[in-house]
Amino acid sequence: MTVSTQRQGGGGGVVERGGGAGGGGLADVVELILDKGLVIDVFVRVSLVGIEILTIDARVVVASVDTFLRFAEATNRADLYSKGAKPKDLGDLTQSITEGGAKGKTSGALDAAVDKFGELLSSRREDREEAPRRRPRPRERDE
């Protein structure tokens, strides 16, 4: 605690400070205290005492399909943001959805894409109602 306030005297700081007594988020705490620290055989006695211990799984997350889709999405966003809508790309996009009635303007193309997507949505509404992703997310841990 003494040190985390130290920076105030040292001025500013781009590094986020936290942790230490009472200052950490649950995720940071879990990572430390469930996986590390002293364990000794004596604690098999827990069963004798009769206390039920909730186990919490704090393993490193193995990249899953959901992770990949999340990054694909983020990458597509980053691309639009950084290079804007490139004329060539837009042209292709417009062409591929001509049937949708795009007018060739940026907004028109995007609207059309949304329309088309909307059709898809309505034609499979049942699938889509509560599940924007194509695959079920892994269930939150049951144990």
Binding site: G10, V14, R17, L32, I33, V60, F71, T75, S82
Partner: protein
């Protein structure tokens, strides 16, 4: 220990009555523990069980519910971190429950020399954890610039409906994650190289998520805390806009407890 719950029923009709205690960590006798430090038991307090010159920080435990709530975890860490902020402590892994008499008989007495040695090692030192994460937009921009395969895949996806592009999107994400994981080895190493001179010891843990760059624990001399802190800040400034650093601590030296 008079305020502790003195008995409990054991589940299988065992007649033995045991007083369970929660053990937070081990200290040297005489270590300062704030009077108002909250424990996770009904008494809301912590106390100390001594044996020779070492001691265990303990408390009572709740008997009407399983351990493991958010609050239990935060309390455990707050106890060891509060002590660690100023003095040496060997933190226990959560959850550490045992019978009251076993704290001395089975924990402290048989391992006295070992614990004393570990506490000596930790004397005058404290842990900090540094976590670094890529700033998504900045780094994904770099990834795109540097990888034609990813750009091509992206173009393809932009021409397909969401359904039709499913497998391409999975593949795209997989490629991006792979590039990030390669990238972080380089970035992470540079960060560690710059901070290592300010620490007694460093443990580099595996970053959890693809966008995590670094997750490392530093054991720092207390009289060099300011230097270490300044060094972290300097690194943070150099990486600003690309990687965001978080410095957690002072913490109990979880990453520097020797394996039994």
């Amino acid at each position: 220990m008079s305020d502790m719950v003195s008995e409990t029923q054991t589940p299988e009709g065992d007649e033995e009555l045991v007083t369970p205690v929660y053990v937070y960590g081990l200290i040297r006798v005489g270590t300062q523990i704030p009077d108002d430090l909250p424990g996770l038991g009904p008494s809301g307090r912590v106390s100390v069980i001594e044996h020779g010159d070492i001691a265990a920080i303990v408390s009572d435990i709740p008997l009407d519910r399983p351990l493991g709530t958010r609050n239990d975890l935060l309390t455990h860490e707050a106890v060891v971190d509060t002590v660690a902020a100023n003095e040496a402590v060997v933190p226990m892994r959560f959850p550490a429950v045992t019978a009251e008499e076993a704290v001395v008989e089975e924990l402290l007495a048989p391992n006295e020399d070992h614990f004393r040695g570990v506490l000596d090692e930790l004397e005058g030192r404290v842990q900090f954890t540094l976590k670094g994460r890529y700033i998504e937009d900045a780094v994904l921009g770099e990834v795109l610039q540097g990888n034609a395969e990813i750009r091509a895949l992206q173009d393809k996806i932009s021409e397909l409906s969401e359904d039709a592009s499913y497998y391409d999107r999975v593949r795209l994400g997989e490629l991006v994650v792979k590039v990030l994981e390669q990238q972080r080895e380089e970035d992470g190493e540079q960060i560690l190289d710059r901070l290592e001179p300010f620490a007694v010891s460093v443990v580099a843990n595996q970053p959890g998520q693809p966008e995590d760059v670094v997750n490392a624990a530093f054991l720092v001399q207390r009289d060099r805390l300011r230097e270490f802190d300044d060094a972290v800040e300097n690194v943070g400034q150099d990486l600003d806009g690309r990687i965001r650093l978080r410095l957690l601590g002072p913490q109990a030296p979880y990453d520097f407890v020797p394996a039994e």
